[in-house]
Symmetry: D2
Subunit: 143 residues, 4 copies
Amino acid sequence: MNDLSTFPVIVNQVIAWGDMDAYQHVNNAMYFRYFESSRMAYFTKMGFIRARTADLDVGPILAHTACTFLKPLVHPDRVEVGCKIAKIGNTSFVMEHAIISPKLGLVAKGEGVVVCFDFNKNHKIAVPDDMRKRIQEIEGRSF
Amino acid sequence: MNDLSTFPVIVNQVIAWGDMDAYQHVNNAMYFRYFESSRMAYFTKMGFIRARTADLDVGPILAHTACTFLKPLVHPDRVEVGCKIAKIGNTSFVMEHAIISPKLGLVAKGEGVVVCFDFNKNHKIAVPDDMRKRIQEIEGRSF
Amino acid sequence: MNDLSTFPVIVNQVIAWGDMDAYQHVNNAMYFRYFESSRMAYFTKMGFIRARTADLDVGPILAHTACTFLKPLVHPDRVEVGCKIAKIGNTSFVMEHAIISPKLGLVAKGEGVVVCFDFNKNHKIAVPDDMRKRIQEIEGRSF
Amino acid sequence: MNDLSTFPVIVNQVIAWGDMDAYQHVNNAMYFRYFESSRMAYFTKMGFIRARTADLDVGPILAHTACTFLKPLVHPDRVEVGCKIAKIGNTSFVMEHAIISPKLGLVAKGEGVVVCFDFNKNHKIAVPDDMRKRIQEIEGRSF
């Protein structure tokens, strides 16, 4: 994978000097911060921001996430972080991430499992129909 | 799992107020910081700290990591983070992590794949024999 | 200053490996995280946690903070972080911080200016009388 | 101050969702990360990156830093972070920082004291003459 053409959401990320750790490359936890930024951009595009009203408090919960580190990132650099939804389940969906550095190519890939949660009732809910539609619009395909 | 009795390395982690994000629970990236602290404690116990000498520069590389979030952590709390080695491969080994809160029980579990790397030659190396022995001593079993 | 005997609030802080940056000592921003942890412990002791009710939403705002770095901190280490209130003004109070490492002595000192804020009315308020009393109790002196 | 026209070094900073804390605005420690990014950009422009050779190991040490918070920053936003050198002393210089949000104006200002340090000899050194010249070139004035 040399580009992010299959990713409908891409965020630009400048690598801060302070993102590096004592091994003098970007710390592993920062990749999850970068994934998060792309996930939040996707949520914004979906309109899936946790909304609290008197009656309703539904939002996303990150249930699982993973990252495979392919090449070390070093400051100064700037990368693109892609986010796409690869699968929609009953109460959750699977996001995929990829990080590309112009000079290094693909440096990391990862995924996240996001559960739809009703915070008032304190349990998972089915992915709402309008959300499924919106994801399919963004992804440009049906699931 | 209600205790960390199968984990030879356990670190205590105080949950800082600043570890929480705008959702008012501990941010997902912080779990990887907690895993890292337990991993570094294990490396210290193994004696597997990257050593750079004129001739040799061998150390660990984190190639993959994942976390499953079971319950949200909230400040104030203090947790125990366990680390064990579950598998030894040819050039890598697999670490497992678990985080237990006294009041919440098991809140997260995860894993990491660590590759033995020669930074001078810039490629993976076989897990050295003395390192295998040391891991088996720490784990109290043969692999 | 070799001890924190004049500080009514002290928190223990384990230095994480991941708190270090590419200069291989603790990153400057982490000292403000440590200060924050001691400040939050003081707020808890004062009972000054932002409370939102239908009528009232009063809480602290950090208006200014500073740190003087005396010696570099390196993992592994564990430090004590002291917090005291040095001055009470009309709408704010001044906190002082000190960080002591058992092996290094005083490694950093700092301060913070905390303003009492009414988030409903969106302006500063006078430090409430019961808060002044509580601070004087904690500090063991009158201001 | 509504612009950064007096700052010779300006870095663009996207506010990450994860930069916010449980108070749902950007955490105080992150402002020091933003300052650091502008400081490192200034060091790069100056050519003052710590260089370790067999004979010489001279670099910058941050001895003091402070921030005054004027308005809360909230994701999503993007800010400009300015860095200038305001004063050159014998063994140190003073940097000034300002953060401007296009929609909020000036949100924070701060400063840092940077000491020139010889890591081999383990003591401060005088600011080298060529460094003074370089700073005066960058600042466009003599000190």
